[in-house]
Amino acid sequence: MRHGKRLFIATFLVPPLALYALFVISPYVQAFQISTTDWGGLSPEYHVVGLANFTRLLHDHYVWNALRNNAILLAVLPVVTIVLGLFFASMLSVGGRRDRAGVRGVRGAPLYRLVYFFPQVLSVSIIGVLWKEMYAPDSGLVNGALRAVGLGGLARPWLGDPALAYWCVVAVMVWSNVGFYVVLFGAGMQAVPRDIYEAALLDGAGRATTLLRITVPLLWDTVQVAWVYLAIVALDGFALVQIITDGGPGLRTDVIGLRLYSTAFGDAKFGYASAIGVAMLFLTLSIAVLALRATRRERVEL
């Protein structure tokens, strides 16, 4: 019987693991190999160049320029998204007026929850194209709205202004991500016993205090998860940047994913692009570990 059970488990486990090995692990390992060659990606010929690609990487100012943008994203995106997500989620689940029914969300909370989640339903490319048109200087909705309310003086050629273009893309990333975290945090808050909130209210805690002293500590695990997730998103950012600005104006919104892509498919340097990819892997892993370490805290037991 015991033997049969093992076989049973193996039957279910082997096919997915094999697929995973073939389509995820093997390209992974190959990238390491390719990164030590000068393979151009258009013929089977290549030379092994050792670590030359990595040395080149250290002195490539395009790569550093892209990394700097990723670093900005890493500093801004998780913080802004989590703060907004927590704020909206707490308004939706406990921010409403206190009444006989106990603590509840603001009026229309289910509707808001739905609306916040919309961007999550759209594919990234649709979001990119939508916002590209929204930011258009004359026909775009952003400038159109500004002009309609008499703030035409604030209208800008958003994506054409090097000082603003990157922030425009960051804003889209926040917008497209925040809905998911509203739902994630919201689900976490549902699990927090209502009586804790009611007790806090009875003790005279305001909304801000409730959020900072009760919700956040109780949700800390979820926040930590969100942090790692968003850090990884911040190190990528390829799809939205490629669609909205394609790195422009003048490489000022370039990110490392886009650099990798144009090195491989634009400049036909697959070996070097793989080296960028390998370097990014280690960077991503280190940052994920750091994020988990830095946010480690005693868990609150209920």
Binding site: S43, P44, D138, P157, D161, A191, L218, D221, P249, L251
Partner: protein, 476 residues
Amino acid sequence: MRPASIHDAPVTRRRLLTRAATAGAVVVAAAGLPGCAMAGGARRETARGKKNSENPLGVSETAPLEVVIFNGGFGEEYARAHEAMYRQRHPKAEVRHTATQEIAKTLQPRFVDGSPPDVVDNSGAGQIDFNGLVSQGALTELAPLLDAPSLDDPGRTVRETLLPGSLLPGTYNGRTMALNYTYTAYGIWYSAKLLADHGWHYPRTWDEMIALCKVVKAAGIAPWTYQGKYPRYMSWPILAAAAKLAGPQVLVAIDNLEPNAWKHDAVKAAADAYYQLAVDGYILPGSEGMDHIQSQTEWCRGNAVFISCGSWLENEQKAVTPAGFQMTVAPTPNLTAGDKLPFAALRGTTGEPFVVPAKAHNVAGGFEYLRIMLSKQGAADFTRKVASLTCVRGAADGLPLPPGLASVTKALTASGDATFNWVYNSYYRKLERTLVDAACGDLFTRRITPAEFVAQCQRGADEIARDSSVAKYRRG
């Protein structure tokens, strides 16, 4: 207490870490394609047939032919007509037709595998980098095709039926590796109706241009706009004006990455001239934030008078061009009275590169297909279908042309032997698409001066010249 609580969180976290690892893997995997990315397939012999006067290229009658077309501004219908002509000549051969917008993504693995198609229209934003294709030996040299007798007149070779300069953009260190099929004029575009309605005339000198801009602006219209997100479009009139000022040798130096080629006085003078448009506020506000379609549409709506573009503009704007717009191309105005080239001189170049991969299974069939495209019938059919000229001499004679294309034909005839061209963009894609592009963006938003502009372009060119991983090409 309810059963569900935050005690469940660690599970989420574990799942999350798996996902994190996967996300990392995707970043890496993006660089190498799944499967054995670098392994090549077995080398197959290319199909051959008997050479005779009817079949000068020695096409095998039974070998299938595979054609991949870039499905962009020209669509794919024109190719079906060429394929039908091929079938007519070689009824036993099967012709496979594919069209895609992503040439590089679709074909890159097949090049590596050693099983590429027989003819590829390597065009569009997703084209495969030519520097890489040529330096990695992925293409067949087209000399046998060019020296074969043409389809219409066995007394003349295919080479002799082409417009002068047609082969320059596809020629690398003297070897022609790509056939650029369309013939494109680059210049400054305007609506002849708009100019006539206001009683304005297209300026022949730069001083007249600035004077006209003043009048246009006073009339409440922006004199210029440009494809702000792809500001390299504005490098074209600058280089054209420089070539007209000091002669086309300036362009040869740039193509050959000669030291200080961009710092030539003529390039600086041209940059100075066009910079004036930004300084005097003659550019449609917000242009820098528009992509090519957005800015060209503003121009079609009459919100700007002039725009720099190539002759695909008419086709690209077909849907939004008002009736009676009379789209017209003109050469760049002369910078001085002493310019080396006359006013009529403009950039004429071939585009839409067709290649026959080195490892194609039917190289002779690929050549034959190109020979058919270059016949009078094949070329005239292309012009009729997509409203673009081809590199075939006289193929558009007598065809009814839309207004923009008619003006292109006229401009090219007027330009004649003074027509010039540059090819650094096809030698070193990145130099134009990234580096010069960035410099133009900064120049026309006045973040840098013309002197800094030429210095920045020069830095980009020097960087490419120093980079040992980029193959270098020279022209005469």
